[in-house]
Symmetry: D2
Subunit: 248 residues, 4 copies
């Protein structure tokens, strides 16, 4: 077993999934949290540290390539000698639900920024580090992307939302085919359902048996950890995750 | 039968497909050709006029929403009283084949511009006109998009190319679900193979039996016309087109 | 142009699609109709002959390989010197809509018989003849299969129906990859909607605007003809056909 | 925590995957192994018992519904009071790789028997038991099916193999939609690669770096266990598993 130190990076920790993923990976690695504003990660950093883990929050605007580059330089300085074991892209891309003729070009750009454009910058920063980790990493170094139902089905009134999600899925497929043989595990999770967050609970408070209809963020995090720890002879590129109650 | 006049618009006529589609639709409708530079459409306009059809070239930068809006205003002025029967989006989105870490953010943006961003602007300009044509159009007013193998499979070294193509496909699916029930036919063609153009012939001149390995643009055009003339009770949202020799 | 005579074979002419396809192809070829009972094809044969076409009904149980072999021998005798230009597999596979635990093994076998097992026998009989036609046929010799929504989506309560349809789709994909390069066009049409037949009209008589919600069999037939006449440089392996009103 | 006892059933333990899955699940449950011949399960039963687990071999011909029923009756008698927590269908369906015109009807039937027909019988026997386990099972009672590359892509020369695999996949999708909301987890794993067994090692002994090109059965088993232990709010219906070296 190598004495090499490893860490994980989670981009997008405002919502429920990012927090849960960070906490789950923090049980094994120091975790870096990227978010646009410190308010998004401060509580999670504190929570991880309180439970004995190590966490570092770094401000980054994932839609700005220069900001991503700068964040990765900060990480390098703050974690000298540590290598990257896992990078999770979990950025919210907005959610414009509108008839097509009411959508604005900005709706499309916001969706693309939070999905494929952000994912592109994040992957370009993370992949050289993940490649370096291949020889010594306890598990195949992993780059995991969060997708949605709209990654594979473009419904009416979700044109821009689905466009971004489809594009991000394409990115992950292409990366899997290029970097899989080099030892990096690229995975894409299709989250098919509402995630149990305070905001969603408020929005859906009148739904019957609501508790059974939402995905628990901790359950997503457990599956991401299972993805990360897969043996390199049996890697998953894509899986779906949905509540048992969900129709599909 | 209505005495209403109808026309078609083809965006992207530089390569072989746009020219063939324009010529095929010109057998039934006056055709408007959109391209960034007049050199791209001048010959096709002349060819259509020579064979007795009507054609109009309009300069438009499909990646610039203002330019698309302006082009549609020009069309309205130039073709008073005529309605839109078919709009074909056939824009070239560039083709960066590179290892992911050599790709630039510009490669991604070029791909998105020529696919989903251009398609978005084009659809926003064309759909109100196509909706107006529903009651009188001889066939269901049609909005047809040209896709590629990379629309459904993201290969290694094609990350940005596939991202754009996936996103454009998402756009067409969402539009089909929204505008199909309103009477507009939204179709997406997956062109799986090299198209027989002088440029491709030159690039592949050493390939054996080359003539059997390329798609004839006229054959694509024939299938687009078959799509346009489908009865509204049996519309195709997506089909693939490939040479008989192609492996897939 | 060859002086060779060509004919088409349509398996499954009980319902609306088979009749329409036979009539459409009869405008260009003598057509052979296969059905289990003469009552299924007699009227269509008469209709085609009345309108000046040539038609021949042959009794065959598509689920019985010996019966299929025997039917093809009959066709050979009855149409001396004629070659096969197109074969359409349009057999009804039953439609058991039941909770899984109420389904019987017979429901599964009935579904498999009418889909992949029948299609297998039909393809084994037709393909040698289609291969012979490659050099002279006016269009790429074609083997077209009718699929359904359940070919790509297995809904609850349709386990056996979908199993057969998925299996038939697999057969067509594999055949396309093997026989496409040999010059035979293998196509699969996903019919996504109710077909306008007297029986469906009766079942759905209380549905509002029913006429807009059903696929016209003649429209399916037109698309099958368009498939058959595609140029070999641009063949479609799969397309969907649905009414403009259909949600998907 | 319930005091209820639970067990698992694995159908198909001749090859490498069945053995590994049985051993993995035996770390938590008594495991029943179904195979046509005792020689297929004797060693695995002994191995599990030696390592302190409980295992029971039951002879069953999965392609014969009566044999499956009888096997489940035997299990009921042999494990009084124990409930079913997980059932894994991992039956080998033969593997006819031949040009289509050389395939026999028997090749098709062998493929269907080992896939959808066997899976149908197995699911009909297992699902009532899994439903009973919903209230008390430590994890969502699970029915997991082993698929293959051919479950989603039907290559040339694999017509019958793919037909069976597609059909089995349809079965799992339909069951997921019906039994997911009732609390049973239905999953389908697409095994995309050669599995590391003595037989495959012998067949591929001349392949370079062979060890990196095969899936370790223990790695598949680990992912099946991860599937079984997913929280019901985030269940995976389908995932792929492939060696990091595999092209796809």
């Amino acid at each position: 077993m190598s004495k090499q130190a490893f860490h994980a990076i989670v981009a997008g920790v405002g919502g429920g999934t990012g927090r849960s993923v960070a906490c789950r990976f923090a049980r094994n690695y120091p975790v870096v949290l990227l978010a646009r504003r410190p308010e998004s990660f401060n509580d999670v950093v504190a929570e991880i540290q309180k439970s004995g883990g190590k966490a570092l929050g770094v401000v980054a605007d994932i839609t700005d390539p220069a900001s991503v580059t700068s964040a990765f330089e900060t990480i390098k300085k703050e974690m000298p000698g540590s290598r990257l074991a896992a990078a999770i892209y979990n950025v919210n891309s907005g959610f414009a639900r509108k008839p097509f003729l009411e959508l604005k070009r900005e709706d499309l750009d916001t969706s693309l920024d939070g999905t494929v454009r952000g994912g592109f910058s994040f992957a370009q920063a993370a992949l050289p580090l993940l490649l370096e980790s291949v020889p010594d990493s306890p598990y195949p170094p992993s780059l995991i992307f969060t997708g949605a139902t709209a990654s594979i089905k473009a419904s009416a009134n979700f044109a821009t939302f689905a466009a971004g999600k489809f594009a991000l899925r394409a990115l992950t497929q292409s990366l899997a085919r290029e970097f899989g043989p080099k030892g990096v595990h690229i995975a894409h999770a299709i989250i098919d359902g509402f995630i149990d967050t305070p905001r969603v609970r408020e929005l859906m408070k009148d739904v019957d048996a609501l508790d059974e209809k939402m995905i628990k963020p901790d359950a997503i995090a457990e599956s991401y950890w299972a993805l990360h720890t897969q043996h390199r002879s049996a890697l998953t590129q894509e899986l779906d995750l949905r509540p048992f109650t969900e129709t599909f």
